[in-house]
């Protein structure tokens, strides 16, 4: 499952956008063919850090759309600052991505 990250300056702030390819299954949907409930499978936590220091912790429930696109803005980010994002879902699967401020 791919995770994409993008950081761009917007005035004084830097916007960090993350797109994770994830099913975000609610656990209440049924498979149309087998009529069986599709088990819940969704990202629960997503952490943003800059130069190794955590700046934001996102908690998600089943109400977040498939393939979550999450954006935050930070102040005082400098060119070359390392941005890292990591996520974990309810089945313990993890993923993440890295980039640097341009």
């Amino acid at each position: 499952m791919a995770t994409k990250i993008k950081a761009r300056k917007k005035g004084n702030a830097t916007e960090i956008l993350v797109l994770v390819q994830h099913a975000m299954e609610t656990g209440s949907r049924k498979d149309k063919k087998t009529k069986k409930v599709i088990p819940a499978h969704f990202i629960q936590t997503l952490n943003f850090s800059i130069n190794g220091k955590s700046v934001a912790d996102v908690a998600m429930g089943i109400g977040v759309s498939k393939n979550p696109l999450v954006g935050i803005r930070v102040k005082n980010a400098k060119s070359g600052d390392k941005i890292e994002v990591s996520w974990k879902d309810n089945k313990g699967e993890t993923g993440g991505a890295k980039t640097a401020v341009k």
Partner: protein, 154 residues
């Protein structure tokens, strides 16, 4: 504050806390253990808000919610929150008429701006309610989004 509630957890989580304290886990992974189950399981906004923020919150005009007036597809409704409030510690987005209203919550530490954008599922036409913790004060705002095709099991 976060750490305190974290340490009050069960034996399993306190073992995790020890591991985190010993630097065996990075902060992101340690925090992953504190997904706020009660807030996400709550059936209405007031209860979920209370579970997530400890208070029902007061209405504020300083929270701007950018969401479509009418969403063609309830499965993907873009929501942007911007606020001029000072010292924003956390922002949460609730969809009032979803079976589990709390969609997502973000906790900031450090140099963040009062801004959060994401995409949420909406079962039907509903208010989108946003809670903001601004320096310990709980404030909220809401915006109505009309949904023509639902996004929950539809």
């Amino acid at each position: 504050m976060k750490r305190r509630t974290f340490l009050k957890g069960t034996v399993a989580t306190s073992a995790l806390a020890v591991a985190a304290g010993a630097g065996l886990l990075r902060s992101g992974q340690a925090l992953a253990a504190e997904w706020p189950t009660a807030a996400f399981d709550a059936g209405d906004v007031a209860a979920a808000g209370k579970a997530a923020f400890g208070s029902d919150g007061a209405a504020s005009k300083d929270i701007k919610i950018k969401a479509p007036l009418q969403a063609e597809n309830g499965a993907v409704v873009p929501v942007k929150v911007e606020t001029s409030l000072a010292d924003v510690k956390s922002i949460a987005i609730f969809v009032a008429k979803n079976p589990k209203p709390l969609a997502t919550k973000v906790d900031f530490s450090g140099d963040s701006v009062g801004y959060y954008s994401t995409r949420v599922k909406m079962g039907k036409t509903s208010d989108v309610v946003v809670y903001v913790n601004s320096g310990g004060k709980i404030l909220k705002a809401s915006a109505m989004v009309k949904v023509t095709v639902g996004g929950c099991g539809g």
